[in-house]
């Protein structure tokens, strides 16, 4: 079982430090806008610059799909403005985050609880996004069970017959390089996706990465 991610400003697992853009508190309206420091004179007005260090943004929101349009807007703006991913991928990340959050809301966290979305950019060559539920949902899965479920649906001959079930297997898996499920000490699950910019098909708008044999599905 993997330990929970460090809080903002704590060392990352790779030993690097995060640079907080926004404090990790509750509310979907936190768009990561940092509060500028006090200025003493007009000449000292701060200039907004993209931080050179790794960036971690944490958003905690209630278990309610009502807030998802705001999270999608935030994801679109974040990927467009803070990464070198082509615009097409900003829309793809929007869907990936939406699907992960919908799963966490529907299965992992009970109404009245929370889910957490973490955007992590260690360098300009990759983006990592984590979605954590509280483990209080009506359909209790552990990481191994969720891994098995997605692995089954990734089989070429798997027949999708219902309204649901395409999110993780057909969208999230197709548009990421790695998809990892981790059991959390709280009883919840963290789904982590990683997408790297060095994908040779990155700038080919017609390429469908669903056939990418390098995709990795992991359980921690």
């Amino acid at each position: 079982m993997e330990t929970q991610l460090p809080t903002t400003s704590a060392p990352l697992p790779n030993g690097e430090q995060t640079t907080p853009i926004a404090p990790a508190t509750s509310g979907a309206s936190e768009t990561g806008a940092a509060t500028p420091p006090p200025v003493s004179s007009p000449e000292a007005l701060p200039v907004a610059q993209k931080p050179a260090e790794p960036v971690k943004i944490t958003i905690t929101l209630p278990t309610n799909a009502y807030f998802m349009s705001g999270i999608r807007d935030f994801t679109l703006a974040l990927i467009k403005n803070m990464t070198k991913f082509p615009e097409q991928w900003a829309y793809r990340f929007q869907s990936v985050v939406d699907e992960l959050c919908n799963n966490a809301i529907e299965h992992g966290s009970a109404p009245g609880k929370e889910i957490t979305v973490i955007f992590l950019q260690n360098d300009e060559k990759s983006v990592q996004i984590m979605v954590e539920d509280s483990g209080t949902g009506k359909d209790k899965f552990n990481a191994a069970q969720l891994h098995e479920l997605v692995a089954q649906r990734l089989q070429p001959d798997y027949a999708f017959s219902g309204i649901r079930g395409r999110g993780l297997a057909k969208i999230v898996s197709a548009w990421t390089d790695e998809l990892t499920f981790t059991d959390l000490p709280t009883g919840g699950i963290r789904a982590t996706i990683t997408k790297r910019l060095d994908d040779p098909k990155m700038n080919d708008p017609t390429a469908l990465p669903s056939t990418d044999p390098t995709h990795v599905l992991l359980t921690n």
Partner: protein, 123 residues
């Protein structure tokens, strides 16, 4: 909560036995609204006396999630059972992208213009 509206328009058909309707989608289909909004499409399908073709004008559709695609597949299946069907028109690049990655465009034809979509179903 995401906003979504679906307006329905009757399209004249050369074949009186075949009904054609165009559904104009505006807004975002997501987890917060798709279950409720899908009922409008099911009502159209269930009310059809014979073959019904639906043209989905997606020019105003900004977002759709995986469950919306699940409903789209179910509507298509139900209409096909009545010798009808669905075609898509004017989908934005991000909508076409998600439909392609899920594989729906192999099942449901998508056209760049309304005229092409109409021509495909009005015969």
């Amino acid at each position: 909560m995401a906003d979504i509206s679906i307006t329905t328009e009757d399209i004249p058909s050369t074949n009186p036995a075949k009904a054609v309707k165009m559904l104009h989608f505006t807004g975002q289909l997501d987890e917060s609204n798709v279950d409720e909004k899908s009922k409008e499409v099911y009502q159209l399908i269930e009310a059809a006396q014979g073959p019904l073709y639906l043209i989905f004008d997606l020019a105003g559709l900004e977002y759709m999630n995986s469950k919306s695609i699940g409903y789209l597949t179910d509507w298509y299946t139900k209409l096909s059972e009545k010798q009808g069907g669905i075609v898509l028109a004017q989908a934005r690049p991000n909508i076409l992208d998600i439909l392609q990655v899920v594989g729906i465009t192999q099942l449901i034809q998508s056209y760049a213009t309304i005229e092409e979509a109409k021509a495909a179903v009005i015969q």
